[in-house]
Amino acid sequence: MIPILRTYLARLLPQLIALSAILIAISMTFPGFLNLEIQNDRLYGSLIDILNRGAPVVLLAIGMTVVIATKGIDLSVGAVMAICGAVAASFITAGHSLFETLLITIAVGVLCGMWNGILVAVLDIQPIIATLVLMVAGRGIAQLVTEGAILTFNDPGLIFIGSGSFAGLPMPVVVWLVFGVLVALLVRQSALGMLIEAIGVNRQASTLSGVLTPVLLIAAYMLSGLSAAIAGIIAAADIRGADANNAGLWLELDAILAVVVGGTSLLGGRFSIAASVLGAIIIQAINTGILLSGFPPEFNLIIKAAIIVFILVLQSPRFRTAFAFLAVPRRAAKTTEQEAK
């Protein structure tokens, strides 16, 4: 167990370092940043805000990771979020029960994912373009549902998902934690993870080895649709209304960024859900840090770009090899250790 834990930590090390660096940097400019207190049975503080506000991107990143691992990309997640938010709001206001609403919404999200998956796996359309179709049309569909307005609702159950709390944590955090753990267990305790990585690296060789490529590809996009549905529900529940115009707008880029910051290659193959979640949290930490910093908003983008470039440069393979001499003694130690076994 311990060696597995160690390889796990080694995988996540760059992300953990980046996150700590950002948190430290923020807390130096804004002293109260690390404070946590309990208020109304709920943890309260900027750190919790990061986890909470990061929920949509974390969720999207979880699905996106799997899609990217298959060498795909899903640009439609933002639009699917909007669709699902709109569907949830319209069902709950039409008097359906919370359970029915959630079920339908999730079904819609999964269906959207399936559509993408079929375009990619069966019609063999390139993922960027295949999902661009739904990215463009999806927001229209969402607006069709809400007729361009913000569809507000008062159902306490649905609102609870957005702003309630469980065991001291805001519900969105609980949701993504549970979802992330479930997905990670699903892919790593079954053979899905390896098969998906195989498809991402060499689809043809995988098919020839008997891997059920089309089905797994479709499943990957369906998972992404599911993540987007949950993210959409949370986003709508958070503001007690479905904003089809703006929900999830450009979030697909943040999600992709999160996956890359998490160290998963856009060329497919090896992936780590946990690292992507950390990536999303890093991005949210940057956003929250910018908000707390009090800089005028015209600097937001520049600050964000600079920090991202910095993190990516630190992570880039070249940079790492350039500083490989730092790691050499450690690696040598590891080999001798292995030989000793």
């Binding site: 305790q189 079954s190 053979a191 899905l192 390896m194 098969l195 990585e197 195989a198 690296v201 060499n202 043809q204 060789a205 995988s206 098919t207 020839l208 080895s209 008997g210 891997v211 059920l212 797994l216 193959g269 090896r270 690696r331 080999t335 292995q338």
Partner: protein, 505 residues
């Protein structure tokens, strides 16, 4: 070893390490003007790595390179080309999306008024290829031609680039006898012109046919350099593998299989790929498939395995009709298929050797029943040992293995599924002598255990050694079947020639 003034290329104490591997350890290498110098060694000995260091594709860790007595340091392959070193790297290394002509003249296209003169380029390309007896539409994408043709194009390009040195890393792996002969004619001509030629291969006949001197590497170290004439085959093999080889491919013994055919294909085929054919395979039988390049051998295998769905005919196993509509369906029937093009159809490059080995087995079990890590390790170790796959450890990404070792890992992938019907398309391509003999032995033992095998190979000697029957292909059709006494290399050549004559007339 004296540094003769005749040396055109001298490499001194070349070092190259990869994480976990010392690929080259102070290797010296001297290439003379007007000689063909064979560079030999087992899979993973470091041959390709040495080549890549010489041509700047890898940065060497240490050592120096002299070209014509002048120290050079090619920073990249472009540099090496400018210095007059033309290279064919091991895997076909041309660009499939470019036209044949563009591949030939990439980076040195003829220009007029600053623009590339496409017409002149195509004309030059046709002229260049006519030396190789190839009449191609040079404006078509390279991908539309077979691996063999691509290989010839790669050779043509390298030869044209080599002002001083020509390096050929297993250029003959996917060529048949005819093309090899043609290549050798060209090599001799270049040699007469005073070029130095480095030639890497695992075919020892070819070594003796063409080379003047031999340098052997083992585990990244120089074993020695000898005159070919002074070194007999046994000693050479001993130099390469560090021990005596029990026996090389032994002579054929007739082993006709008994009993009813287990696998029965009737009128099986796919339009545009392979004409309908009948095929029966018994348990404990090896059916060899012979034919020239592009004769449809790979297509036969792919149709049998369901990689391309057959559009005519029926398949029966043990008398029961089966649909082999996809690789999955075939694998469910305990089929296995080791493809010819390992780079695109075989290896899953970024995954580890272990994962590559268990992939097909895992795919057959389905994703819900993962093979435990311990079991994966056991399988991987088992086959790494059984097939002698040279790798630092089982977690190494397979793309970092040498070509021959990748081939063995793919073979292991299928053996792990314990197939009953195994199709091997060029299983020994790029495999060293030692391993070659082992694979032949392996095929024998699988046959003895009652497995049915279909083996495609361009090496007739090898086919003759293990086949119980041989099918000869021509123009995408099965044209002859040899069995019993008639299984000899001579008969196969006859059958192909007869077919060719018929085509010619």
């Amino acid at each position: 070893m004296q540094a003769s003034s005749d040396n055109i290329l001298t490499a001194v104490r070349i070092d190259k390490g990869f994480p976990g591997t010392k690929a080259l350890d102070k290797v010296d290498f001297h290439l003379q003007r007007g000689e063909v110098h064979a560079l030999l060694g087992e899979n993973g000995a470091g041959k390709s790595t040495l080549i890549k260091c010489l041509t700047g594709a890898y940065r060497r860790d240490g050592g120096s390179i002299l070209l014509d007595g002048v120290e050079v340091d090619p920073r990249d392959t472009f540099d090496a080309q400018r210095l007059g070193i033309g290279t064919v790297y091991q895997e076909v290394n041309l660009l499939p999306n470019l036209s044949v002509a563009e591949n030939l003249f990439l980076g040195r296209q003829p220009r007029r008024f600053g623009m590339v003169d496409i017409r002149a380029m195509n004309r030059m390309a046709r002229e260049l290829l006519s030396e190789y007896e190839l009449e191609l539409d040079v404006t078509r994408a390279l991908a539309s031609y077979s691996v063999a043709i691509q290989q010839v194009v790669a050779i043509a390009r390298a030869v044209d680039l080599s002002g001083k040195v020509l390096i050929l890393d297993e250029p003959t792996a996917s060529l048949d006898a005819h093309e090899v002969a043609m290549l050798f004619r060209i090599v001799r001509r270049l040699k007469a012109r005073g070029l130095g030629i480095i030639f890497i291969t695992h075919f020892l006949e070819q070594v003796y046919e063409i080379s003047d001197r031999i340098t052997v590497l083992r585990n990244g170290r120089l074993v020695g350099t000898r005159n070919t004439a002074d070194l007999d085959r046994r000693d050479l093999i001993a130099m390469m593998i560090g021990r005596e080889l029990a026996a090389e491919i032994h002579a054929a013994e007739a082993h006709a299989a008994e009993g009813e055919p287990r696998y029965r294909f009737r009128n099986y085929g796919r339009r545009g790929r392979i004409d309908p054919f009948d095929l029966d395979v018994r348990a404990g039988e090896v059916v060899g498939i012979a034919g020239l390049l592009g004769s449809g051998r790979t297509e036969t295998a792919e149709v049998l395995f369901g990689a391309h769905r057959a559009d005519s005919g029926t398949a029966e196993i043990d008398g029961r009709r089966v649909e082999l509509s996809s690789p999955r369906a075939a694998i469910r029937r305990k089929f296995g298929f080791c493809p010819e093009d390992r780079k695109t159809d075989g290896i899953v490059g970024d995954l580890s050797v272990r994962e590559n080995i268990v992939l097909a087995l895992q795919a057959r079990r389905g994703w819900t029943r993962p093979i435990s890590r311990a079991e994966q390790n056991r399988l991987a170790d088992l086959y790494i040992r059984a097939l002698d796959i040279r790798t630092a450890d089982r977690e190494k990404p397979i793309k970092l293995l040498s070509g021959g070792n990748q081939q063995k890992a793919i073979l292991a992938r299928w053996l792990a599924t314990e197939p009953e019907f195994l199709i091997l398309d060029e299983p020994t391509r790029g495999i060293d002598v030692g391993a070659h003999a082992e694979i032949v032995r392996l095929i024998e033992s699988l046959r003895e255990k009652g497995m049915s095998l279909i083996v495609i190979s361009s090496e007739l000697e090898e086919l003759v050694a293990y086949s119980t029957r041989i099918i000869v292909l021509r123009d995408r059709a099965h044209v002859a079947e040899l069995d019993g006494e008639r299984i000899t290399a001579h008969q196969i050549v006859e059958a192909i020639a007869a077919a060719n004559e018929r085509r010619a007339s």
